[in-house]
Every structure is written in structure tokens, then in C-alpha cells.
Amino acid sequence: MNKCKKIKKELVAFLYNELEEDKRLVVKTHLNECTSCRQELNDIKQAMVPAEDISSDIQAVMDSMDWESVSAEITGRVFEQEKSRAPQAERKKGISNIFDHRFRPIYAALLLGLMLGSFFTYMALRRSGSFYASQEKITMPEDFLDRVEMELARKETLDYLEKSQYLILDIVRSAEPSGFESSRFNSERAQDLLSKKKYINQQLDRFEMVKAKEICDQIEMLFYELSLIREDLPEEELKRIQSFIRDRQILLKIKILKEELKESEV
């Protein structure tokens, strides 16, 4: 029984004549005596019969082929593809050249140089204290910003006064209502100046320009009235306004105030 097990392992090699002579004889002797092993060999033989038929079929298919044209076709296609692949390879080579391994040490040296340079610059600046020097330079006198704002306020007020002066001069010079060309236009100018005054008010309060504020308030009143006028200005109304300007000497006050403001330039 144990022998059968050993023999069955050799049956395939026996069938295909792959055993050495002494082993082949042992198997052959055993097969004469053992029905079970003989049956096993027959089963293998039987199962392998189609393999030979299939092998013949494959051979028949191969014999039916026109190998001459097959080789010509293959060669043609291979060289055709070779041509189409060549330009692509060239292009790739061009791009990959800059990443070539030969340039790697140069890239590495550049990177190292950059890193060391940054480090030493940082250390040098830190030691000399100039690293923070630039920050110190930015610090300025405490009142600097205030002075800047005050200067701006002064300029704004001057601008306001000048515009007011022109408008008031227009009103004074117009002897009659028709001469005071478009009262609607003047009304718009007055409105603009009123909105400007709102902004200046804050500045005047803040920097305690009392005198300027007083005059500006008077002008404001005047413009408030002007801004209310929608239609042509009645003659009495115009005269009333003109007398108001004259009585209060607004134009003179504006002139004086402007001079003062110009003198006090920062």
C-alpha cells in the first residue's frame, strides 16, 4: 500500500519517459503486479488524450497561416510606432535635462548657500542690534499724529472759508434778483458747504479754535437760509441777506480769519 503511494507519484514521469532507467524498471514491475496503479495510469492516459488532439489543432492553425505577410506586417507596425515614439522621447529628454542628475550637486550647493546665507545674516543682524533698529525708527513723537490732524483741520477750514467767501461775494454783488443768476445753483452750493461744516465742527471743537468756530457758525446760518430757497429769490429776501452780511461784516471776518489760519501753519 505504501509502495503504491510512492509509485503513483512517479506515474506521470513514467508516462512521459522522464524516469531514470532503474526507477522506470521499478515502476514497470510494480504495474504488472498492481491493478490499482495500472488503473491509475490508464486514467491519466485517458485524461491526457485530448491534449494531443488540441496540440494537433494548434499545429493545424499554425500551418494555415501566411507567415510571410505576418512578419512583414509586424515589422511595418513596429517601425511605424518607433517613428511616432521618437519625437515624444526627444521632447521628454529636453524637459528632463534640467532635472538631470548631473545638475543635482549644483542645486544642492545653491540651496545650502541660500540657507547658510540666511542664517548668518540673521545672526549678524541680531548681534549688532540693528535687527530691531528699523522698528525703533518708526516710533515718533507722541503728538505727531495730533499735529497732522490739526494741520488737516486747518486746511479744511481754510478751504471751507474760501468757498464760503466766493458764495457770499456772489450774493453781495448781485444787485437784483435776476443778477443773482440761478438761485437753485447757489442753493446747492450752500447745501454742499453745510455738509462740509458738519465735518469741520468736530475738528474746530477738538482743537479749540473758538474764534474760527464763531465765524463759521454765522456762515452756517446764512447758508442754511440759502439752502432753503428753492425758487427765484425775492428782492426783499436778497436785500435782507445782503444787509445781514454787511452788518456782521462777514466777508471781513472771513478775510481776517483766513490770514490768521495761514499764519498758524504747522
Binding site: 485530448p50 491534449a51 513596429v78
Partner: protein, 194 residues
């Protein structure tokens, strides 16, 4: 190395050298020498003529691209068949693996055994069909060894070189392949004899 094989060796070397310099004619001669062997392996493995022709084309294309990788001390035919074997396995996995093999769409039991005239011929055809289906059930390596041995009539030594495995492994794989084929086919043969 006998005289004949030495001449063949020299010829192939000179052909390869010419091909490296872009000689189209030399390439065609080389193709004529080995196309049958390449086709035989591909067709035995896939059992489809069109697919086998695709493999032949791809094999020679790769040969042309990788010709510089060939080492003179190796057997050229075995090196070429190694390329074919790789392409075959990839092709089989991609195209056949998904649909479970060329013959596996029908069950072995479903193959119709007719009792009509010319029964012998029909029986033989059915048997080949059953055999092919059983072959698909073997593992990839067992199937490759079996195909190379029985359909391509290659020696164990050659198979070992092409598959890049030990000679003993090839023998063992062949033994297991035959045993498995017998185990798969015998029950059905019994039924048909009855």
C-alpha cells in the same frame, strides 16, 4: 554547443547588432525566425487567433524597445518567450480574468453529448472542449507549464528558463497539473462511457 547551434548563435547576434542600428530587414528576418514559436505559446495559452496575433505584435514591439537589455549569454528564444509569457499573463488577467475564462461561461456539465450519427467525432470535439475548460481551472503557473509542455513541446529546462523558476519546481508544477486535470476530467469520462 554543436556546430549548427553555434552558427545560429552567431547569426542571431549579428541580426541583433544590425537591428540596434535600425536595420529593418534584419528585424524582419528575426521575426520570421521566431514568430511561429511566439504565436504557438500565445495561441496555446489564450486559444484565440486574434488575441494571439495581438500578443505576437506586442512581443516584437517590446523586443525592439528592449533589445539592449538582452544578454548574449542567455538563450535568445527563451528570452523572447519570457516577454511573450509576461504579455500573455497580463492579457489573460485583463481580458479573460474578468469574464472568468474563455470556456468558463458554460459549465462542463452543460456540454451537450449527442447520440446522433458521427458520434465519435462529436465526442472528440466535446472532450477537447471539456479539456480546455478544465485547463482554465488550473492555477496560472500550472496552466503555463502544462501548455508549454504539451502544446509547445518545450523541455523542462527551457520552461524553467522562460518562467525563471527552478527545474524541480517545473517538474512539480507539471505533475500537479496532470493530477488535477485527471481529477477534473475522469469523473466526466466515466459518465460518458456508461
Amino acid at each position: 554547443m554543436n556546430k549548427e547551434s553555434r552558427e545560429e548563435y552567431v547569426d542571431i547576434q549579428s541580426l541583433l547588432s544590425k537591428i540596434k542600428h535600425g536595420d529593418k530587414e534584419a528585424f524582419q528576418i528575426l521575426t520570421q525566425c521566431f514568430q511561429r514559436k511566439v504565436f504557438q505559446l500565445a495561441y496555446s495559452y489564450l486559444r484565440n487567433k486574434e488575441d494571439a496575433m495581438d500578443i505576437v505584435q506586442e512581443t516584437f514591439l517590446r523586443l525592439h524597445l528592449k533589445i539592449d537589455l538582452y544578454k548574449h549569454e542567455n538563450n535568445f528564444q527563451n528570452w523572447l518567450l519570457q516577454i511573450t509569457r509576461n504579455i500573455c499573463i497580463d492579457y489573460y488577467r485583463k481580458s479573460y480574468g474578468k469574464r472568468g475564462g474563455r470556456y468558463l461561461h458554460e459549465n462542463i456539465e452543460d456540454v451537450n453529448i449527442s447520440n446522433d450519427t458521427d458520434q465519435e467525432q462529436i465526442y472528440s470535439s466535446d472532450l477537447k472542449s471539456i479539456f480546455s475548460q478544465c485547463l482554465q481551472k488550473l492555477s496560472e503557473k500550472q496552466r503555463m507549464v502544462f501548455v508549454m509542455k504539451h502544446f509547445n513541446h518545450l523541455e523542462y529546462k527551457e520552461i524553467a528558463q522562460i518562467l525563471d523558476i527552478a527545474l524541480g519546481t517545473v517538474k512539480s508544477l507539471h505533475f500537479k497539473a496532470v493530477q488535477n486535470m485527471k481529477a477534473l476530467i475522469s469523473p466526466m469520462l466515466g459518465e460518458k462511457y456508461e
